[in-house]
């Protein structure tokens, strides 16, 4: 086997440390293809005073040209009762692969962002958010 092919196959084995590719939610859009760490930056505050609204920005390092762009970004929460949070569909027309929103987090947990590129590859990043509990619950 040529050296380039050998190294290529090694990178294909690189697994995302952020989330398992056999996780059913991840499999539903990756179909088992490898998810590699990198190229995605998920920005969330390390400490959130309140789980009701936590700021999130996700950026993907991509030239966003017709031949090389981000197709979609998937957001998955580790511990929310409903783990799929959002999918942002971008595409070649989008000039910058950057989306912000506000998330609801059910307690301290990891949030994972997986980007699907136009070449069919998947890349990931994760952020751990410590979520504080309210001192007095409201009741209305």
């Amino acid at each position: 086997m040529k050296r380039r092919e050998f190294i290529g196959s090694l990178t294909a084995l690189a697994v995302s440390p952020h989330i398992s590719t056999t996780d059913p939610l991840v499999y539903s859009f990756t179909r088992g293809r490898p998810v590699r760490p990198g190229r995605v930056k998920l920005e969330m505050p390390p400490l959130a005073e309140n789980g009701h609204s936590v700021a999130m920005t996700v950026r993907v390092d991509s030239p966003m040209t017709p031949s090389d762009h981000v197709r979609a970004v998937y957001l998955i929460a580790e511990k929310n009762p409903v783990r799929d949070m959002a999918v942002f569909y971008l595409g070649a027309h989008c000039p910058r692969a950057e989306v912000s929103s506000r998330l609801r987090l059910n307690g301290s947990q990891q949030v994972v962002a997986i980007a699907e590129l136009s070449d069919g590859s998947f890349w990931s990043d994760a952020a751990f958010v410590e979520v504080r509990e309210a001192a007095c619950t409201d009741g209305g």
Partner: protein, 107 residues
């Protein structure tokens, strides 16, 4: 009809990057909350949202209950010509919402 607030630069030059921000009034009900009498408040969240600029789709999202109430979204588009920015969304109760604004583009 749900209210929305769209923030956009009032004008842009052709080819320029434009930052779009929108806040939509919607409870994004998770289905896990309980009303004062104790009964579960049923799930109702915006699940689909599309933004079109001069008729062309520039942004699409599938949202879920993990998005905070009164959802906020920020994304980018490239200014081409003056045109309308049309937002459309649909929630679990099959209620549609829409909001519109205009982008003025100079060459």
């Amino acid at each position: 009809m749900a209210l929305a607030r769209i923030d956009l630069p009032h004008a842009a030059r052709r080819g320029e990057l434009v930052e779009v921000r929108i806040v939509i009034q919607h409870p994004m009900e998770t289905g896990f909350r309980r009303a004062p009498q104790g009964e579960r408040v049923p799930r109702n969240a915006i699940h689909s949202l599309v933004c079109r600029y001069s008729g062309t789709e520039v942004f699409r999202a599938t949202l879920s209950t993990g998005i905070a109430a009164n959802p906020f979204l920020r994304f980018f588009l490239r200014a081409t010509q003056s045109g309308d920015l049309d937002f459309w969304w649909l929630d679990d109760d099959e209620v549609q919402g829409a909001a519109q604004t205009h982008l003025v583009v100079s060459s």
